[in-house]
Symmetry: C2
Subunit: 567 residues, 2 copies
């Protein structure tokens, strides 16, 4: 390592994503700028989002997460020679003095403490795992899944065959990814505990989370929602035991604490920078903090939600990289703005893809918006294509203005494409009519002639005209003894897939009339009853509703997204 | 069949996509409307875009293309009972009398001719194959690939083992899809002939078409571009022989004529409706023809290009469906507009996905726009993900305004997602800055932390700052004896993948300095020479360019999209 100078033009606190990206962008624009990045840990830049793939064994060596695509380690030498800035690892910044424009750095190896001056400063201190609210034992096998050491530790245990069972505490993004990591690759038994009544409580509405939960259960994951974990302890064999209120204790070989993260703002707070109400550092549209010489980006800042106009804490590697670019350009004197966020996300658990963008129905209501919702189940390609897969969508939009508010997607099919398109539409404040107008790339290898997003627009328009869609999550509550269930599927389908217990257990009157026969058999329906129309995916029910309405039948609803969303 | 009435509220001419969709939409809004659809052929509605999958055997029976996802044949009874309108097949409309508001219909089975009145009319007469410019023999084995009979005929021949070789005349959308249909599934030898100097002449720029061509050649397809087919004849065994100027005649078992289609406007022209300069029926933004009581949609109309503002002929099943909805709503009294087109397309040939949207560089120049272009090669997921695939992008944008104009994509990776997002951006008139701001769904199963579209924005910005990108198609012309080729790849890579002949044959000075060593080895470069920087995908070359520039070296260019785009 070269001798460390006493000051730099720009000091960056924190590696991984936002920090190095900001430094690299500035170094490209101003190769003469003196830039120093301090990072507390040993590994400076790694693909943190790839941890589940290393833990599962799909990525062979941890080094692959540290290397460039062409096999060069992203170490201090790499950043110096290829990216044009200096990095100091195992160097903890313990204090920022904004008046003197210095940072205090403690070298972890040597214990040496130095003061280092800056003209401008970038804070990219990331996030830290939330403090577990329950008592925990001191054990190597009860830990979060955040830092390299967490990931490497699990992999070592798994490789030694020491893990036959895991408990995952927390059913959010990481917790759900880890189900596949543990079960699919190592054959480990998985218990997933989520405190809220549903998985993914902050990103999916309950009925969409239920589809995710059912898919995990089908893969053999034991899922317990509404699970209050009181404590985790060690038994006499030093194995972790999870105690959940109202349940027998569960003894496992390993525990993942996936309780989420909060922004790491200790340094920022101590030097007096504004902290937002979400707990993240407050920044303006150019990612400047309350001190114009100090920028902040990545998981330590709060974001502006482009739909609600409110602050939100959204720690995402993709946003961190984009923050880095904006900060780098700003430091180079190029005025660039960060537009805020709409919250796009995708992940996979076994064969099920999960994604969304914008507001859930609940989030929209919480934000004071008059939200409406529609659901649909779709093939991702034409059904005659042998490669066809399926998914279920929920779309949220605003009453009266018809503004799009959000979409949620769950299924085996290609959801990322639809999430990304919807994200682009949300960013422009698009309406239902814009969704109808969206032009997608079509060939039967990739899509249907009308995209599922077009059909969602159509269903939303039907909802606005008064067609009643029954939330797929409101079964069986929506069915009672007075309900007449009208199954408009074909005979073959009904034989192959009997009605699920959510319907058959609650209702003693089911009549099946294939859609094509409905017009001629309308008199078989009792017009005094409330009718619930069901089919496989929801589209035939919609057509059946048109027929009932034309016949003057008024009291009916459509099981939104059909039986596919009940699986 | 019920007795045909003398008149209908709405008459639709033509089945398949736009016509039935218009009729079904209207029938939903106004179940009492009397709607009659006349269709010339036997099969009223079929998945025409799925023909290649039936021809290949991937779709088992032709019936699957005629059925709904739940197995019901889309025949006259289906449309009457489920969709609410009458359809008459094998019924050719031979004349439209707009003054009397009648159509003359000839029943093909019986020869009977009837007059049928209408209040409003929908013309959805589709397209017809272009007349082949060369003499053709009378043979069942020399035919287009347009109608069901064409497709069924090929499949029968293939199943009987009578086709060991095919010639495909025309290297556009269908011609390229048929390469996979014939070769991959039946093991048939394929010769593909394209008259223009490149494949896909109307949708891809030459260097992107070259990547497609190379991928076809790797799959064993013989591709001849610039091929003037003078005639097709039969030899003494009644086998087709293709005669190409300057080449030996090619004898094959079967010939596909994929020469494109033109709008079928005979009826529209004869009744005096305005025909546009593209040859398609001229319509306004509500898809009304020059007669406000006559609507037209699908492959028989011309479209407004949303970027150029000019008319374009773009026959696409996806657009036809969207036309149908707009017409149906208009007929129901709901004012709806069709926004025009940006030309999104995707297709697959073997493992290679091909797609694009907006203007090619050539199309942009032809439209009088000051177009600039950048290229990039990317993984579609992080390289450490074992499921990673790759693609190459070309992006076209406007000088000064930075408005996005188009993108083209070729590769094994997930291109449909990027094409769709770009389509959405083009529809809103987005600029480079909007592309930087795009928020994608990120997880290593699906994408990198920065999407390839973000990198394209970065490269375009670099181009605007003066970085010179060498068009990947201009090799070897861009390399001469005075060029110093600077290969910044690692040693392992250079050993594993020697420079291709486009470079090594033309240049006698190649120096390899891995990017990480470039700063310290700058003096090995002869500053009087023009330097061409190359790497695998283009991003390291860009970083190397920053280093050269900082060192005061001025004459250099970057091989855009790297060696990946040279394969």
């Amino acid at each position: 390592m070269h001798e460390l100078p006493e000051r730099s033009d720009v000091v960056v606190i924190g590696g991984v994503a936002a920090g190095p990206k900001a430094a690299a962008t500035l170094a490209r624009r101003q190769p003469e700028a003196i830039i120093t990045l301090f990072h507390k840990e040993e590994h400076l830049s790694y693909a943190a989002c790839g941890f589940p793939l290393y833990a599962s064994g799909e990525v062979g060596s941890f080094e692959e997460l540290l290397k460039t695509p062409y096999g060069v380690l992203r170490d201090a030498e790499f950043f110096e020679s290829s990216k044009g800035f200096r990095t100091i690892t195992r160097a903890e910044v313990t204090r920022i003095d904004r008046r003197a424009k210095t940072v205090t750095v403690r070298m972890i190896e040597t214990g040496e403490v130095v003061e280092h001056g800056y003209d401008r400063l970038v804070i990219a201190t990331g996030s830290t795992p939330k403090e577990p609210p329950m008592p925990l034992p001191k054990s190597n096998r009860v830990r979060p899944f955040v830092r390299p050491i967490d990931v490497i530790t699990f992999r070592q245990h798994a490789e030694r065959g020491e893990v036959d069972s895991v408990a995952i505490i927390g059913g959010g993004f990481i917790g759900i990814e880890l189900c596949e990591t543990a079960k699919d690759m190592w054959g480990i038994e998985v218990d997933l505990f989520e405190k809220q009544p549903q998985l993914f409580p902050y990103m999916l509405d309950p009925e969409m989370a239920t589809i995710v939960q059912n898919s995990l259960v089908r893969e053999g994951v034991r899922v317990l929602t509404g699970a209050q974990v009181d404590k985790i302890d060690l038994n006499s064999d030093d194995k972790p035991v999870v105690y959940v209120t109202g349940h027998e204790p569960v003894s496992v070989d390993y525990v993942f604490l996936c309780l989420g993260v909060h922004p790491e703002v200790t340094l920022a707070r101590e030097c007096g920078l504004d902290i937002g109400e979400t707990g993240g550092i407050r920044v303006n549209e150019c990612l400047q903090t309350s001190d114009p010489d100090v920028y902040a980006g990545g998981d330590c800042i709060e974001s502006l939600h482009q739909i609600t106009g409110r602050s939100i804490y959204l720690p995402m590697g993709s946003l961190a990289n984009r923050h880095g670019r904006v900060i780098g350009e700003m430091l180079a004197g190029n005025k660039v703005e960060f537009p805020g966020v709409v919250g796009a996300f995708v992940l996979r658990a076994f064969e099920t893809n999960i994604g969304g963008v914008g507001l859930s129905e609940r989030a929209a209501r919480d934000a004071g918006l008059e939200a409406r919702a529609v659901w649909g189940s779709f093939p991702d390609k034409p059904d005659y294509n042998p490669e066809v897969k399926t998914f279920t969508l929920k779309m949220v939009y605003e009453d009266r203005t018809n503004r799009l508010l959000g979409v949620q997607a769950v299924g085996t099919g290609d959801i990322a494409r639809r999430v990304d398109v919807f994200s682009s539409l949300l960013q422009r404040g698009a309406t239902l009519e814009d969704l109808f107008d969206f032009e997608h790339g079509y060939a039967p290898r990739f899509a249907e002639a009308l995209d599922p997003l077009h059909h969602m627009a159509g269903m939303a328009a039907a909802g606005l005209r008064g067609t009643e869609f029954v939330d797929p999550g409101s079964l069986p509550a929506a069915v009672d003894q007075g309900t007449l269930v009208l199954d408009v599927r074909e005979t073959d389908e009904a034989v192959g897939e009997p009605l699920p217990p959510q319907i058959s257990d609650k209702c003693n009157e089911v009549i099946r009339i294939p859609l094509g026969e409905l017009k001629s058999r309308l008199k078989e329906l009792d017009p005094t009853k409330r009718i619930l129309i069901i089919c496989r995916r929801g589209s035939r029910s919609y057509q059946a509703a048109v027929i009932l309405e034309a016949a003057g039948i008024e009291s009916f609803g459509i099981l939104a997204a059909g039986l596919q969303a009940q699986e």
